[in-house]
Subunit: 330 residues, 4 copies
């Protein structure tokens, strides 16, 4: 498949038709590809806990994040309702020397490490499973496919595909600031790259897996500053991976980048075309802004790229996404 | 131990001295009893995944929650930055039929299912490990023991102690509205009750475990309305369990109630005296407002009260607590 | 006019047609009846400043407000980013003994003393001036008639109609808890009541005036607790005043109640029918939850019921309402 | 007075002692210099309404503001709870064709056009009137001098000192991008400049006045982008104006800049030293980020630089500042 750069709409329509999962799990489905993550897959995943080492795959949630206000997305604003300073001053009015601290957060659900819910993206007014977008996500939230439906499910076998490590060295560094385990911005990760990386790691991707794709961009942003991490150029999945995403029957996929797919996008004047196929048509659970570096270091060291993974969204009723702290255990 | 109702301060001081873990993990410790949850414990926990069934232990995060404004704690306010309705109307200005929904949340970190961080409670101006509260939690947040330090750790062996089920039937229902697997408000769960329940379930509580205590109060609140669930009378742990909490060397403990310990508290004019020992002195990770009902139903059905449990806090830098969606897998 | 209780839709349609101001100020109008408030009216208003006494007509903005969560409306949550306690502790890291406090607020724009913007209410999908609601207020806010357009205008002649004082004594107190200057809940203030009150006060209501109607309900709520102040039964304007609101050509009107019009509403199964005429059709600026008591006390004392009034909305871009602190000067 | 650049602490201490108003209005004072704004001043101010023309002096409150996250100060985040799009779709479930829009805001009280409350700044742990900072502003807010105490007072005679217009042309433009009515960044406005400007305008500054100082920096930021408007270099009042601020007995003063005083500050390693004298010692009400351009244009045109001014803070209980929409009427 070699999409015509000038016709994103045509390419999206063709991919949407070819890879649609609409109706696959019935009219009332609210889980999409998470349906692939069944009890057998969880047993398989749990068996991967060999050492008991655990890794958080979450970025920090604070004002030092990448958001710059686009689409009113700010970094998380965390404030205190009560503090130790006040407690020490005796300002709290509580008995027997009791003191406490409380806090509050205000944040976009898309501000940092997250899952995109099935109501996050629409194609020509259609949401997941063919539902009219205006009946699914109103100002009251996602009335049908809110992230709360995912609450108990997202725990299973995780696989890391460290494409940055496997292919980063082979790509020319244009500026000398990129390291060998990092893909350059604008690098489109294709199906071939994914397959090659899996082979290099000795893992097989299959039904119900949660696939984590490391590009190395986050490591670069950490070293050099956020720059345009939120919405600017980035390595990421090629639009042409839609077939692979569909065929492998994975439950979910996540990257260490802001937007999952390669940026600039591969069509003229386009905006996140792979999302437009993957979420409303494939029903795929997509994660973004994950921090895969500590896990990747461990996988490189022991050569084991599969693990038990729990990435539980907060059951915020009607949310089209959720901040998460995914935990991998090897 | 039979504390003098009139002297909470004395009882707290005695328990604090007797059960202190200050210095146990060094001067710089930021994990408290989570130190007990080691890799061996995770291997032990993962081995408990037999069927692959997973359970969310989180309440919903929405405006239908229990908060009524005390200490400026509101229920979560979730609003949309973009909707399907707008997308369907063509109001979004994006190319090739792309539409999207985004959202925002504002919430106290103590509003629903949560962990209390180590900076949440102080005793006479002292935080965990003996640090001065005013040096630990300022308006900038918890500068030392912020919940982000827990990020990779809280995954291990979970145990459910369904005290409501085991003891609820034996307590007289004063009003006919309480079911047989629910403890009455004001019921103090003692060490003996915990031990008896564990024996009834055939489980042993030990070092590094995450213990979940079900009282049944949440089930009652669901049926009858929140009432004073947030801060009113409730079943919960007796102050006298401090020794058990310390001796068993558990990593963490959570209940299905607002405030973990029995309310009214067991001293005159007191406020959460067990917190004042458990958090700053024992360094114990405490969870509140967990929804244990679905898991309890399954445990009752198959008789297995131990499982793999992941309860990952969001790494909100400097937070003294975190909303969570704990996932148990059996 | 004697509306048929069973046919709110018919009554609304008739009033909407009869009292419509659509097109009166051109196709592009964004001010509605605020157009009536011209420079001459401001000169007239300023001449009413005789003593120089000023009165705030705003309720407090804090957690002790009336909101209970309906429509996700909470009371204002005010938190601190920096405090004196931290400054005194030397926690702030600023030079030469400098210390500071900062703060943050999260609040519905409809939570306390407020103006309803012209985009706040629609009639059968039509906004003010006949515009399609879906083109006016999207998730981006009110793109056409946002409250920011009112920013420089709302300063002029104010008139207090203390209907509570004039008519409260004549209504039977059902429960002995209502005072003589308070109307009972459910009391519909008619055109005749308004005219009678103005005559009793010796004031004439005319084009461009800002009319404040005191029912006394807020005083009662202060004394007895909020109860159902937010959305429950209340005295307020009768649906039948629509003609008076239109004919007098007032610029704006406000009450000391949650919802401006009488509640329960005067039709079976209706919801705020007068709003549906007054805002989208008359283009009237409506204020709610004003605190008129201190001003009313002064007016009663000196017998002067007209004054200079400034009630400037915050120019929040695209807002459909604004919190305000109206200042009357006599 | 020629302060030693190397000794901000000494200069602040000297000015604080010389210009202190502590005790001037009694031990319990919560108004500071707003005490100067009495009824006579309001009568004088109201007499300045000659044409009835009104001007908003507020910047917009939206995401296009100057804030960049310093001190967790974001731009205002305004979101919708209900929209016209939803209403038009019939998603709202309300009777007789009723539709509505509601909204929410989350914002720092210091994010845009504002008053600094008396609890905003401390000097060596002392707040206004000599109170200990830790007893005044805790995590509960300003318990003593919260901005709500100012609610009815801030309406009186306003004076514009357009220093940009009077002195801008005389300062060399370093970059060709500054216009003749704009002061360069780093320009310290002295007492002599203020007096000269008042003379040029034909106005006299006196007790109880509200003085508005236009530098022209906001106009430049509008034209060229915000850049470092929030916290960067700027024209502003010299530290040496402390005596003038005290001696003139003005009630309040505001500028069109982020930080009121000149930046970089006039001492090495200093941070807002004039604030440290003006707020806690003089008790002066200070406004920042006002938009004076439309008013200045009118004043230049008619040569009248005095007017009626209402700048009512929202009575947010315990706030150390408030967003405002000041209205000038000429």
């Amino acid at each position: 498949m070699s999409p015509n750069r000038a016709d994103p709409e045509g390419a999206i329509a063709e991919a949407a038709q070819t890879y649609s999962n609409w109706g696959r799990w019935g009219e009332d489905d609210v889980l999409g590809t998470v349906n692939f993550l069944d009890e057998g897959k969880r047993r398989e995943g749990a068996a991967l806990v060999r050492r008991g080492a655990s890794f958080s795959l979450s970025q920090s949630f604070d004002m030092d994040g990448p958001q710059k206000g686009w689409r009113r997305r700010t970094n998380p604003v965390h404030t205190m309702l009560a503090t130790g300073t006040d407690a020490a001053q005796g300002n709290q009015g509580l008995p027997h020397g009791f003191g406490g601290a409380d806090d509050v957060i205000a944040m976009p659900l898309q501000c940092s490490t997250q899952w995109d819910g099935l109501g996050h993206i629409f194609d020509h007014g259609k949401a997941w499973n063919g539902r009219p977008a205006e009946r699914v996500v109103t100002c009251e939230g996602d009335l049908v496919t809110g992230i709360e439906h995912m609450a108990p499910h997202v725990a299973g076998r995780g696989i890391l595909l460290d494409v940055g490590l496997v292919l980063g060295g082979a790509t020319a560094s244009r500026d000398g600031r990129r390291r060998a385990d990092e893909l350059p911005d604008g690098f489109a990760v294709t199906e071939e790259h994914l397959i090659h990386t899996a082979e290099a790691h000795g893992v097989t991707v299959g039904r119900g897996d949660i696939v984590l794709v490391r590009t190395g961009q986050l490591a670069r942003a950490r070293r050099e500053g956020w720059g345009d991490y939120a919405g600017g150029d980035a390595p990421g999945l090629s639009f042409t991976t839609a077939g692979w995403l569909h065929r492998t029957e994975i439950a979910a996929i996540a990257t260490d980048t802001w937007g999952f797919e390669v940026r600039p996008n591969e069509f003229d004047g386009a905006f996140q075309p792979l999302h437009q196929v993957a979420i409303p048509h494939i029903g795929l659970l997509i994660g973004e802004m994950w921090d895969l570096d500590a896990l990747a270091g461990d996988c490189k060291a022991d050569g084991v790229y599969e693990f038990w993974l729990t990435a539980a969204p907060l059951p915020i009723t009607g949310a089209v996404g959720s901040p998460i702290n995914p935990i991998a255990v090897k």
